[in-house]
């Protein structure tokens, strides 16, 4: 089975460890990325193995993106999406964010976002969505 690229600035925290542990026990291999600079490195290394991307919207833009284009870091995920789509045009993408309003409808269409999950996230719900999309992929 292909791997899941999980981009969230809290991917290295204990909070996410609980989620990842459950997902991992279900036999799904995760590639957690917490810093925006590592996204391209991880994608380059695992280009053909990535079957799904789970993406948070509020991520520190650090030095990689400007505060203007990410509205103070609150839409960094959308900016990143544009770059991800260039290298992974067909991979399904799941957005996890606090407010659905963050993502305009035309952006969902433009970048072919497969699913939108609102925080707080139920681990089992996330697991189900991931499984569903991985199987299709």
């Amino acid at each position: 089975m292909k791997k899941v690229l999980y981009i969230d600035d809290e991917a290295d925290t204990l909070k996410m460890a609980s989620v990842f542990e459950v997902i991992g026990e279900e036999g799904i291999e995760l590639l957690p990325v917490s810093r925006i600079g590592d996204v391209h490195i991880v994608i380059n290394e695992n280009h053909h193995e990535i079957g799904l991307v789970v993406l948070d919207i509020i991520i520190p833009p650090e030095e990689f993106y400007g505060l203007d284009e990410t509205n103070g870091g609150t839409t960094t995920g959308l900016r990143l999406l544009k770059d991800i789509r260039e290298v992974l045009p067909k991979v399904p993408i799941i957005i996890v964010s606090v407010r659905r309003m963050n993502v305009a409808t035309d952006e969902i269409d433009r970048y072919e976002i497969s699913e939108f999950i609102e925080k707080p996230v139920e681990t089992m719900q996330l697991l189900q969505v991931i499984k569903q999309h991985l199987l299709i992929a």
Binding site: E10, T13, S18, V22, E25, E63, L67, R99, P120
Partner: protein
């Protein structure tokens, strides 16, 4: 005859009809040689309304004297002051005493009957009219007639009281009906006219003006006024000294902020008063300023009312009455949202909102280009904007020479006529005979065909708020008119294009400002939402994790228990945040009094450090503290805890991930003025110089903080500062950029210095 007078008392007569009816009865009753009825005007003089004379008056001088009498002098003056009947039995003697001003030499005795009523604005009785009965020499008032006057006077006053109060009541009802009626789809101007019509019946006014509030730039702009003539002088918009008022520096601006009607008397007309020349010229002395507020309590404008009443400075009761009258007026003006939509100018907010929606649509810019084309009477118009990529993109175009293919029309600044116009402040004018001269340098080959078709072209810059160029407007070929030189732009055209560009520039910068504010709002909301949800998300993930394990009948290990404990600190943090948000909505706890006690600061700080220990050790941040010799202070334990917790949490949170040795230092000391100072320093990501003041404002976050930690409410420091203010202390920032150390100093005021010196201890 008396009976007929009594009939008047019970009949429904208008106040206007009363003088003639009364005069008729009184002349029949007393048979005077001369009888006059004077009505008191608002400017306090008496004006003659009715005159009866047995013999014709020939003296022209007297005729004039008859017409207007002052209210402060002579017998009338006394009647006004005392509200009693004044009898002058010897005019010669009275004239010598200076209390009688003769209007006819033949008059030997006179009776002045004051008529008084309660004006609906004031509580006291005011003399509103006087009746003067005069008899010539040899025809003196008899004793019987003198007695009768007293009786007649009371009847007259009773008649007036009835009629006057009835009329006032009617007016009042009509007024309230007018201001509270459903306005439906009437426009602002119609409403203002309607309001004025009913108002003038209740409060006599000299001048009323309507000002609209623009909340984007915090200014008031005059919209309309009434009447066109004041004190026989014509009022125009030019008569006003200022037609736009800055709300920060004007009296009317104060009303916008307070949203309460206020009376400004002569003593209030300070240097803040914006129309001194206007008021002087038209004899306006005091005014009432009424805010217009929409259903949500947002100010929409003001109405300035200059009453035509005696100067209110000495009559506080009258003032009170007017303000009581004026406030229902303010709230009574119910402006439906429908009204705004029809009246675009009135709702500048919505106008820009709409523009904001359109600003990214090509149709909007095409429409604007065609608007400019019509205004300039030219064949084609194109509008270009720079999109931050160093190129000029065609946004909107119209006319035969305009480019239909938007994607291909891209100019480089300083290249070709358009690019050239972008980089030059002054407009560029091109005529076809200059083609050779311009070719190559100013006309790019790429655009040869457009220029080739043009007999003349004018171009001018569009700029932003800082006058930096952001775009270009280009007009090609003046439309050919028989009278003018064929198809060429003139200097006038250049000037009008510059004006148009000014308008577009202003509108654009406003839209951008609006857009920026909107983005900020969205950003704050997002990060706040994230801040609150994040810990809940964490808690949920652990519960899910436990569910998963319990379902497989596994028991949690010690490490798992530790994880759970961590979650509890998450919950605490969440509660604190909700606390802060609620407090910020309630204006930062301003009204919550401090619950003072003697505090040992080191203990409070230790508790905060304990809360943060986990996060600090996870991020490998070392927390050092040193509190030698810090005395106890008097303060609110809970609120100061919040301050310390916020500052320490920020220091831990904003640690620099690239720093090898991360630290947070807390130092307590006593400065030279014996004040307790607590300093929290860290070598984290730091604060940029331009952010130093901003970060203490509500919902504002530092650039660095936003870059590395998008989630954050921007409330923490504002909240800390407000708590320190309440304690009489200060919170300041010191950034040492060479050593990369950021320090927040908490300086406690002298009074709260030590427990031993404090009032609580005594």
């Amino acid at each position: 005859m008396l009976k007929e007078l009594l009939n008047l008392l019970t009949s429904d007569n208008n106040v206007q009809d009363l003088p003639s009816l009364l005069m008729k009865e009184l002349v029949d009753l007393f048979e005077p040689d001369l009888a006059r009825y004077y009505v008191r005007e608002n400017n306090s003089n008496f004006k003659r309304q009715e005159l009866y004379s047995r013999e014709p008056i020939v003296d022209t001088k007297s005729k004039r004297k008859f017409k207007i009498r002052p209210d402060s002098r002579g017998a009338i003056g006394e009647a006004v002051r005392t509200r009693q009947i004044v009898r002058i039995t010897d005019t010669q003697q009275a004239q010598n005493d200076g209390c009688y001003d003769p209007i006819d030499e033949r008059i030997s005795n006179e009776i002045v009957v004051p008529i008084f009523a309660r004006h609906l604005l004031g509580k006291e009785l005011r003399v509103i009219a006087v009746l003067i009965l005069s008899k010539f020499r040899g025809n003196e008032f008899t004793e019987k007639e003198n007695q009768l006057v007293d009786f007649v006077s009371s009847i007259i006053n009773a008649i007036y009281k009835n009629a006057f109060e009835h009329e006032q009541k009617e007016k009042r009802i009509e007024f309230f009906r007018a201001v509270t009626s459903d306005l439906g789809s009437t426009t602002m101007d119609e409403m203002f006219q309607r309001f004025l019509a009913s108002l003038s019946k209740v409060i006599p006014t000299k001048f009323v003006s309507l000002w609209l509030y623009n909340n984007l730039d915090d200014h008031l702009v005059i919209r309309s006024f009434h009447p066109q003539r004041v004190n026989r002088k014509t009022v125009t918009f030019d008569s006003l000294d200022s037609k736009v008022l800055d709300c920060k520096t004007s009296l009317s601006g104060e009303i916008i902020r307070s949203k309460k009607a206020h009376i400004f008397t002569k003593s209030d007309l300070s240097d803040k008063f914006s129309n001194p020349q206007f008021a002087k010229r038209f004899g306006l002395e005091w005014f009432v300023c009424v805010p217009i507020v929409d259903n949500d309590g947002n100010p929409l404008g003001i109405i300035n009312l200059w009453p035509n009443l005696p100067v209110a400075k000495s009559e506080p009761e009258l003032e009170n009455a007017i303000s009581a009258y004026v406030s229902p007026l303010a709230s009574g003006i119910r402006l439906s949202t429908l009204l705004f939509e029809e009246d675009v100018l009135f709702s500048i907010d919505q106008f820009f909102d709409r523009l904001f929606d359109f600003v990214d649509q090509r149709s909007f810019w095409d429409k604007l280009a065609s608007e400019v084309k019509d205004q300039m009477k030219c064949e084609a118009c194109s509008i270009f904007f720079s999109e931050g990529d160093g190129l000029l993109h065609l946004k909107g175009s119209t006319g035969i020479i305009g480019d239909p293919d938007y994607r291909s029309v891209i100019y480089k600044p300083n290249e070709g006529l358009t690019g050239r116009a972008f980089t030059t402040m002054s407009p560029i004018v091109y005529y076809s005979e200059m083609r050779k001269q311009f070719a190559g340098t100013h006309i790019s080959k790429f655009r040869e065909n457009i220029v080739g078709k043009s007999k003349s072209i004018i171009l001018t810059q569009i700029f932003d708020g800082q006058r930096n160029p952001i775009g270009v407007i280009r007009c090609n070929n003046k439309e050919e008119t028989p009278a003018r030189h064929v198809g060429r732009f003139t200097n006038e055209d250049v000037l009008s294009l510059q004006k148009i560009s000014q308008i577009i520039s202003t509108a654009h910068s406003r839209v951008m400002w609006f857009k920026k504010k909107e983005q900020e709002r969205e950003r704050n909301l997002n990060s706040l939402h994230h801040e609150i949800l994040s810990p809940i998300d964490g808690i949920l993930s652990h519960i899910n994790w436990m569910e998963y394990h319990f379902a497989k009948r596994r028991l949690p290990s010690e490490w798992d228990m530790d994880r759970l404990k961590l979650k509890f600190s998450d919950i605490k943090q969440n509660v604190r945040l909700v606390d802060m948000v609620v407090a910020s909505m309630g204006k930062m706890d301003e009204n919550v009094p401090l619950s003072l006690s003697a505090l040992q600061l080191p203990k409070l700080i230790d508790v905060c450090i304990a809360f943060l220990w986990n996060e600090a050790s996870r991020k490998r941040v070392e927390i050092q503290h040193d509190f030698l010799g810090v005395p106890r202070i008097v303060g609110d334990e809970l609120q100061l805890m919040r301050v310390f917790y916020n500052l320490l949490r920020n220091a831990v949170k904003y640690s620099d991930p690239n720093e090898i040795r991360k630290f947070v230092r807390i130092r307590g000391s006593i400065d030279r003025q014996d004040r307790v100072v607590i300093s929290v320093s860290d070598n984290g990501i730091g604060v940029l110089p331009e952010d130093e003041d901003r970060i203490f404002q509500m919902f504002e976050r530092g650039t660095n903080a936003a870059k590395y930690f998008p989630e954050g409410s921007g409330l923490g420091l504002a909240y800390c500062r407000s708590i320190m203010d309440k304690h009489g202390g200060t919170l300041s920032l010191e950034a040492n950029r060479i050593r990369k150390v950021t320090t927040f100093h908490l300086n406690f005021g002298v009074d709260s210095l030590s427990y031993e010196k404090s009032p609580i201890h005594r």
